[in-house]
C-alpha cells in the first residue's frame, strides 16, 4: 500500500507511440475517426491492448471520445469443424452399425473402423438416443440412418452461417454445444474513437501532484493538474496502537486516582495460601481452594517464611474465634497455609496493605487503595473463559464506615465509567459481611447484568491485623474484561 503512494506520479509527460499515432490519425480533419480500433491496430501494426490503454488514458483527459464496439461471437472448435464436414460422431457410428447389419459389430472392430475418439463419443450418444443396443458382445443398430437427423451438425451449420452470432440458435442448444466443447464464446473489445473536447495533436500530460521541483522551478504556475477523485478514502495513518484492554485500564486508573485512591503494588503473581485465603478468613476447607479452581505451584511449592505473630493470630481466629466471633472451629493446618499458588484475586495484596496500614509507624490512618492487575483461575479455556484475567479492586479503610458508604462509593465509580443505573443484591462471600453483588443496567441489551462484587471485610479478617475495632473496610471488585466487552 505504502509503495503505491510513494511511487510519485510521472513528472515528464512522455507520449507513447500509440497515443501519438491516435492523435495523428485524428488530426486530418475535425470529424476524423478511428472506426474500429481492432482493424485500425492491425493496419497500423500496433498492439491492440496498448492502443486500448492509450485510448482510455486520452479519454480521461478528454483528448478523445470513445464508444464501445464490444461484440462477442461463438467460435467453432476443431472438433466442431470436423462435424460440419463429416457429420457428428453418433451419425458416423450409426452408419457403421447399419452397415454391419443385424449381427452387429464388436467394440474393437467398431473402434478400428471409425477411430477411437469417434467411437467413444458416438457410441455413448447412440445409446442415449436409443439408436443402438447391446446384444451379447456386439452392438446392434435399432434405427436406420433415414430415421434420424444429425441435429448437432445442423446447429453448428446454423451458427457458422450466421458468423457465430449468438442469436442463430436457442439458449438450450448453446448450452448443449458448450457442454460438448464444440463452441466457445469469444469477446472482442474494441472502440470507435473520435476527437474529444480537449483534442490537440500533441498530448500534454497533466500532473497528479504538487512537487518540490514545481515549487523550486515555479512550474506549478503553468502546470495543468489532473482532476482529483474526492470519492475515495484517504490513506491509513499508520503508526502504532495501544492494546484496547490496556487503554481501558489506563482510563480506570485515572478515575480511581481522581477519586483519591492510591495504587497498590500488585506486581506479585506467586502468593502463599496464607495471604490469598487464610488472612481473609477463608476457611481451609473452602471449595475455592480446590485444585479445580486454583493453580497450585509445584516449584517453589512452599512459602519459606511468614510474619509469625500475625500467623498465630490468624490461626487462632480460624480455630476458636475472637473479637465477638465464634470462629470456624477446626484444626488449622500450617502445611495448607504454606502452599504456594498463583493469586486468584488481588485481594491477596489488599490484605497485605491493610496489615501494613495497621502496623505502620504512627498507627492506622484512613486510606483508599486500588489496583488493576492480573489474576489466575484454573478454568477450561473457551470463548468466554480465560485462565488469566484482570481484576479491578478498590477499598476504603476508615472509622465507622457503613454499607451506605460502600453503595455511594460504588455508584460514584460506575457513574464515571458510564454505568448509571445500579442495583445491589445480597450475596455470600467468605471474607465479606455484608456482601453485595452489583448489577448494572445495559441500555442496549435492555437487561440487568452482574458487573461486580462488593462487601465489607469481616471483623475476623481485620482484627488479627491489629486494626482498631471501629475501623471498617469497604471493598468492591470487577473484571476489567467485562466492561471492556460491554463497551
Amino acid at each position: 500500500f505504502f509503495l503505491l503512494r510513494s511511487s510519485t506520479p510521472r513528472r515528464q509527460a512522455t507520449m507513447s507511440a500509440e497515443e501519438a499515432a491516435i492523435l495523428t490519425h485524428l488530426s486530418s480533419r475535425p470529424d476524423a475517426a478511428i472506426e474500429d480500433t481492432l482493424t485500425w491496430s492491425d493496419q497500423s501494426k500496433l498492439d491492440h491492448k496498448a492502443v486500448v490503454g492509450a485510448v482510455k488514458s486520452l479519454q480521461a483527459d478528454a483528448y478523445v471520445t470513445a464508444s464501445d464496439l464490444t461484440k462477442s461471437y461463438f467460435d467453432l472448435s476443431a472438433e466442431a469443424k470436423d462435424i460440419l464436414a463429416n457429420g457428428s460422431q453418433e451419425i458416423i457410428v450409426l452408419g457403421a452399425l447399419c452397415e454391419a447389419g443385424e449381427a452387429g459389430i464388436s467394440m474393437p472392430d467398431l473402434q478400428a473402423k471409425v477411430g477411437k475418439n469417434v467411437c467413444k463419443i458416438g457410441m455413448g450418444n447412440c445409446m442415449k438416443n436409443k439408436w443402438a443396443k447391446k446384444d451379447g458382445g456386439n452392438l446392434v443398430a435399432t434405427s436406420s440412418l433415414a430415421d434420424v437427423t444429425d441435429e448437432v451438425q445442423a446447429h453448428l451449420k446454423a451458427l457458422a452461417d450466421a458468423g457465430g452470432s449468438e442469436s442463430a440458435v436457442d439458449a438450450k442448444t448453446v448450452q448443449a454445444l458448450k457442454r460438448r466443447k464444440l463452441i466457445n464464446l469469444v469477446t472482442l473489445k474494441s472502440y470507435k474513437v473520435g476527437r474529444g473536447e480537449s483534442y490537440a495533436p500533441v498530448r500534454k500530460k497533466k500532473a497528479a501532484d504538487l512537487t518540490k521541483e514545481m515549487l523550486d522551478s515555479g512550474a506549478w504556475k503553468t502546470t495543468e493538474f489532473k482532476q482529483y477523485n474526492f470519492q475515495t478514502l484517504g490513506e491509513k495513518v499508520g503508526g502504532g496502537y495501544l492494546h484496547p484492554l490496556l487503554k481501558v485500564r489506563a482510563e480506570f486508573r485515572n478515575i480511581l486516582l481522581e477519586m483519591g485512591f492510591h495504587e497498590m503494588p500488585t506486581n506479585k503473581w506467586v502468593e502463599s495460601s496464607f495471604w490469598n485465603f487464610d488472612s481473609l478468613f477463608q476457611p481451609q476447607s473452602h471449595p475455592a481452594r480446590d485444585a479445580h479452581d486454583t493453580f497450585f505451584i509445584k516449584e517453589p511449592a512452599q512459602t519459606v517464611s511468614l510474619p509469625e505473630d500475625y500467623y498465630d493470630r490468624v490461626k487462632t481466629m480460624h480455630e476458636v474465634g475472637g473479637s465477638g466471633s465464634i470462629g470456624y472451629r477446626y484444626d488449622f493446618k500450617r502445611e495448607e497455609t504454606l502452599k504456594n499458588l498463583l493469586r486468584t484475586h488481588t485481594t491477596a495484596v489488599s490484605s497485605q496493605m491493610l496489615y501494613k496500614l495497621a502496623n505502620q509507624e504512627g498507627g492506622f490512618k484512613p486510606a483508599r487503595y486500588f489496583s488493576i492487575d492480573r489474576v489466575f483461575r484454573n478454568e477450561t479455556m473457551d470463548a468466554t473463559h480465560l485462565c488469566e484475567f484482570h481484576q479491578v479492586e478498590g477499598l476504603v479503610a476508615d472509622y465507622d464506615l457503613s454499607l451506605g458508604d460502600l453503595i455511594g462509593t460504588i455508584e460514584t465509580f460506575f457513574k464515571k465509567i458510564g454505568i448509571e443505573k445500579l442495583r445491589f443484591k445480597p450475596a455470600f462471600n467468605p471474607y465479606t459481611e455484608p456482601s453485595m453483588e452489583i448489577f448494572g443496567y445495559h441500555p442496549d441489551l435492555k437487561q440487568w447484568t452482574e458487573i461486580g462484587n462488593s462487601g465489607m471485610f469481616r471483623p475476623e479478617m481485620l482484627a488479627p491485623m491489629g486494626l482498631p475495632e471501629n475501623v471498617r473496610v469497604i471493598a468492591w471488585g470487577l473484571s476489567l474484561e467485562r466492561p471492556t466487552m460491554i463497551k
Binding site: W269, P287, K298, N378, F424
Partner: protein, 564 residues
Amino acid sequence: GLSRSLKIFLGDMDAPVYQLTAPDKMETMTVQQDATSTVRPFVVCAILRDVAFTPERYASFIDLQDQLHRNLCRQRTLVAIGTHDMDAVRGPFHYDARCPDDIEFVPLKSSDDTAGQAFTGRTLLEHYETHPDCKHLKPYVPIIKDSSLYPVVLDNENVVLSLPPIINGDRSKITLDTKNVFIECTATDLTKANIVLDTVVTMFSEYCSQPFHIEPVRVNYVDAAGTTTKSDVTPALSTRRVQAGVDFINSLIGIQETAERMVELCNKIQLGPATLEVGPDGRQQMLEVCVPPTRSDILHPVDIAEDVGIAYGYNNIVKRVPHTNTVGGEQPLNKLGDLLRDEIGRAGYTEVLTHGLCSVRDNFTALRKQITAAVSLSNPANVEYEVVRTTLLPGLLKTLQHNKSASFTAGFKLFEISDVVLPDDRHAITGTVVGARNERRLCAVYAGPTSGFEVIHGLVDRVLTLTEVAPEEEYGSNSTKGDEEKFRVAREGWCYTIRELTAGDADAGTYFPGRAAEILLTSPSTGGERVRIGTFGILHPEVLSAFDVGYPASCLEINLEPLM
C-alpha cells in the same frame, strides 16, 4: 426450605421450633476411638420417626445429600452421610475401623452384574476403581484406599451397614416404604459433621408425623481398654442466643431503625424470638436473637447486621461517601510503564497483551535456551500452561505466528510491557518469602523483509533517552548527533552502553551469531559498575522456524526496574 422461608417472611407461618424427643430408651453408637482415629475419627447420628416419603420427597432427600456431599462435605473428605432404614437394622450400633480384608459387606447396587454380591473392603474399592458403571464412586476411593484400616458402621449383630465415605449397605437401604430413618455422619471434622447432620434433620423433620421432632442418639467414644472417654447426644441442634448492638447494626448498615423495628425484622427472617436487652455498659441497647441450627453461617454480630440489612433492603439504604479526604497516587513502576507504552506506541509499535503462563518448550527450548528454573504449576489446565514465563519473547513470537496473513512489507512491529516471574528465595514482601518475584520487562520485535536490527537498536536508544540515561562517551561518539542531543536531559551518574554478546552467553543461542548485544547500565545503585539490563539482536533462524515465523526478525528485552 425456600417456600417455608417466604411464608415466614410474609407472616403466613411461624418459624419452626426444632425439638429433640425423649425416647424410652435412647439408641446408642459406640465408637472404637483408637481404631477410627487412624482414618476418620468422628461420627454423629440422629433418627427421624414416621417419615412420609413420596417420590418427590424421596428424590429431594437424595438430592440434599448429594448437594451436601459436594459442598460442605468437600467431596466427602470432611463428612460423609449414611442413611438407613431403621426397621431393617437393630442397635446398639458400632463405629469401628477394620482391616480391609476382614470386612465383608453387600453394598448398594452400583452395577447390574454385581447386584447382591458380597465384597471385602479391598475387593470393593478395586471394583469401584475399575468398573465402568462405578465412575461416580471412583473419586471417593482415594480418601481411604491407602489406610491400613477402613471405617465401618455396624449393627448389633456386627453386620456392616456402611463403608464410609464410599457406600451404604444393601440391607438397610431407604425405599419409598421406609418409615423410620437412621442417619449417621462420619467425619474428619466434628464441627462440619454437626452442621451437616443439623442441616439434614432440620430439612427433613418437617415430613415426620410429629413435624420438627428429632430422636437423638447417644454417641460414646471408648478407648482400647473399653473405657468411655466422651459421651455426646446428637444431633447437636445447636440453638444459640446472640447479641448485637442496635447502634452497631444501624452504623454498619447505614440506617436509623428503632430497636423495636429490628425485633420485628428478626422475627420475620427466622432469627426469632428476638428480644431487647441492656448492654454490659448499662446503657447500650442490645438486640438479642435466636440463631437456629440451620444458620451455621452466623459467626459474629456482623452476620446479624447483614440479615437486618437484607430485610431492610439494600436498595433502600441511603447512599453516602466516606468523609475522610485522601490523596491518590500511582505505583512508580506502573507510571513508568504507562509513559513508555505511550511513547513506544507513538514510535509505530503495536501493543500486545499475552499470557503469563506458557509451555516449557516456548519458554526455553524453542528459544534455543537451556531449561533452567521457572515457577511451574502442579495442576496445569493444559500443556500450554506449564510454567510462568521467565521472558516476554514467546508471547510476541506467538503473536507474529498468529498474524501470518498480515503485511510484513513495511515491517511488523510489536511490543509488550508486563511481568515475568523468576525464582528467588530471598525476595521478601510483607515479611513473606514465597520463593519467587515478579520483574517488569519491555519486549519488542520487528519482523519484515530484512531483519530490522537497526530499527530495534534505535528503540533501545530511544527507551534509554526517555528514561533520562545518556550513552557512554565512546558509544555515542561514532554517530552523527543531531541538535536534539544538545538538549537531552540525562540523570547525573547514569549512563549506558552496548557490547556484543559473547558466544558462550546464556542468552546468545536465541540470536543470530554476531548480531546480538547486551545493554549495560551504570547508575548510582550499581556502584559505578556496568550491569546488564537486557539484550537485543537478530533472532536465530531456528527460533523463527520454531514459532513458524517466515520473516527475519529482531527483538529486544529489557528489565525496566533498574531504570526507576
